[in-house]
Symmetry: C2
Subunit: 361 residues, 2 copies
């Protein structure tokens, strides 16, 4: 849902698409490159998010793309389907094995969900469609540097995710740091794995907000903020979301996911209204963690509400309901709900069209 559409009826809001070049905190202006504009402000809220990070190995991005934009997702889908097509026609058994090996680097929710989805695709739907190929022989390997999957979840859920993935035929390698990626495969913990498809699901780094604001970021590039989410040095500038380092009550940073970002946005709005109307400010920001959710293949998921932990079909239904609830716009909710009901009752997914020019052939 485009921001311009969401704010269409909000008359006191102007939407502009542009790239921030600099922020002048003395002059109270934001310099935007598109149209070479200087935008003045009384209060500034920076919510510029995070990008995919290869942690110093940015050269791996062409071998192991991530899932940031809609184009990335289409390109990876294209890549996966093309690998099966090429394996179908390949006469060389080693090459066929490499084409059918899919490696996901990073065992967080994205890696776990993606590994489950590829395994399900290979073992069920594609297995029916290819005549020569044994699509079910595809190897799906999920690699995590840490000791267990889903490091942000309680350990018991990481173990459940591992079990669910192994039942789907996914090979799970934990405590296995990746040392090298190239066009032929990866090296992880000294071991070489030949693979045509590598997918990066390992992590993100904050936007350049620290540079624009001329403050010292933390190791992940985030801007440290005060308990009211403003800069220590400047009460007119707030930083929220993935680009801010917000400390929770447990003295650990609030995680870089959607729920705290949304709560931070609502908090700053409330604080600004108080300040503009001369009311006393609200108490310091406190993140309320509602739940952890992840899905693994069809009809199975992991849900953790703190007071209750679920896995399996019930968890999957909750996962689906929550995701539909948080979509913006009735039309989007309706389309996704119909699509999922269709999948559920027919086991048939959307058209697996191989898009793109076919120049790779």
């Amino acid at each position: 849902m485009p921001i311009r559409r969401i704010l269409q009826r909000q008359d006191n809001t102007k939407v502009m698409l542009g790239r921030v070049e600099a922020i002048d905190r003395d002059a109270h202006t934001v310099h935007v490159s598109s149209g070479d504009l200087l935008i003045p402000y009384d209060y500034l809220v920076v919510a510029t998010g995070a990008r995919l990070s290869y942690f110093g190995h940015e050269e791996w991005d062409r071998f192991a793309p991530g899932l940031e934009t809609i184009e990335d997702v289409l390109a990876i889908r294209h890549h996966i389907l093309l690998a099966f097509e090429q394996a179908e026609t390949s006469a060389d058994p080693d090459e066929r094995r490499r084409l059918l090996t899919f490696v996901l680097i990073g065992g967080g929710p994205t890696g776990v969900e993606m590994a489950g989805a590829i395994a399900e695709l290979a073992k069920t739907e594609l297995a029916m469609k290819f005549r020569r190929l044994h699509a079910a022989r595809a190897r799906i390997i999920l690699i995590e540097a840490g000791p267990e999957l889903l490091p942000a979840f309680p350990a018991s859920l990481g173990k459940k995710a591992r079990c669910s993935l192994q039942q789907l035929g996914v090979e799970v390698l934990t405590a296995t740091p990746v040392e090298h990626c190239d066009g032929e495969g990866i090296t992880a913990a000294g071991r070489r794995i030949a693979a045509r498809t590598l997918i990066w699901t390992a992590g993100v780094a904050a936007s350049d907000a620290a540079r624009w604001l001329d403050v010292e970021p933390d190791r992940a590039g985030r801007v440290p903020v005060q308990p009211d989410l403003s800069l220590p040095s400047d009460p007119t500038v707030f930083v929220i979301g993935d680009t801010a380092l917000v400390m929770g009550r447990d003295a650990k940073p609030v995680p870089g996911i959607a729920p705290p970002a949304k709560q931070e946005g609502a908090y700053v709005a409330k604080l600004l209204i108080c300040r503009l109307t001369g009311k006393p400010p609200p108490p310091p920001f406190h993140y309320r963690h509602a739940s952890n959710l992840a899905t693994i293949g069809r009809k199975s998921a992991i849900v953790d509400f703190g007071w209750i932990r679920l896995s399996g079909l019930l968890a999957w239904l909750i996962w689906g309901g929550v995701h539909i609830f948080f979509l913006i716009g009735f039309r989007n909710r309706l389309i996704v709900a119909l699509d999922w009901l269709w999948c559920y009752f027919t086991s048939e997914r959307g058209a697996r069209l191989i898009t793109g020019s076919g120049d790779e052939l």
Copy 2:
């Protein structure tokens, strides 16, 4: 709908994705580059279609992309939406005018439909969403080298299309051959038009089938075939669809659109069954032209069944019904029908998300 899915339950068909390198008619083999395969045949049906053609100006493709693949369509949508966003922030009136000028080159059904769609987008939906910009001031220019729009339709329909487009605010320039395209705009009939967005809707050329088969193509690259759609020199090879030059009863080539291609496929299937079962061959192929259809903006279209010609709302309803009918798969029909009903009753289109990396900013 992927071919592999359509033929999933047809046990005597194998689907292979590959690029044809050569056809050896003496050895009865097709050489496919992917997997370096030689595929033997008893009978060969070549249906490799056509590609976008710039008629000797292939260097224009980066300035004036066409609408061949799903990616092309997404890229052009991205380009159009970004032009509006950039016009919103641009301070230079000349640049703003250039950003809001959209030129379509080629007045066939694609150019007419696309011009109507962009005009509708600019004058209704986007006009509401932008605050600073007058999106309704966008110029949409449709350029055709011939004397009237829709050259394949009867002249009266071309005139109706022109009227409908002019009502939507589109500038229609006929008898205006394009002489030059570049990153800043076009030159047509000696006149310079500064435009950020150029879209090529002017024509196609046949695939390389003539080269593979070692026969002399016509000017558009098509392979001339006999009345039974086989090669004059080889009764085991058939060529159908956009890549074949099939003569109609009026001694004019059958047009390069879907209905004749489908009729040709059915004809060759019937002929091969006759040949394999020893029955007498069917009479020569004869194309039955059912109708011409095109849509212009919302709730208006042009329909020509030969015995009756319609335009306006009724034509639009017929256009929609026919397009849904010819979609493959119940799910696709359902989704498109729901989507159109939604548009019809709410005037709201799908999310105009600007996808892509934003590196152009």
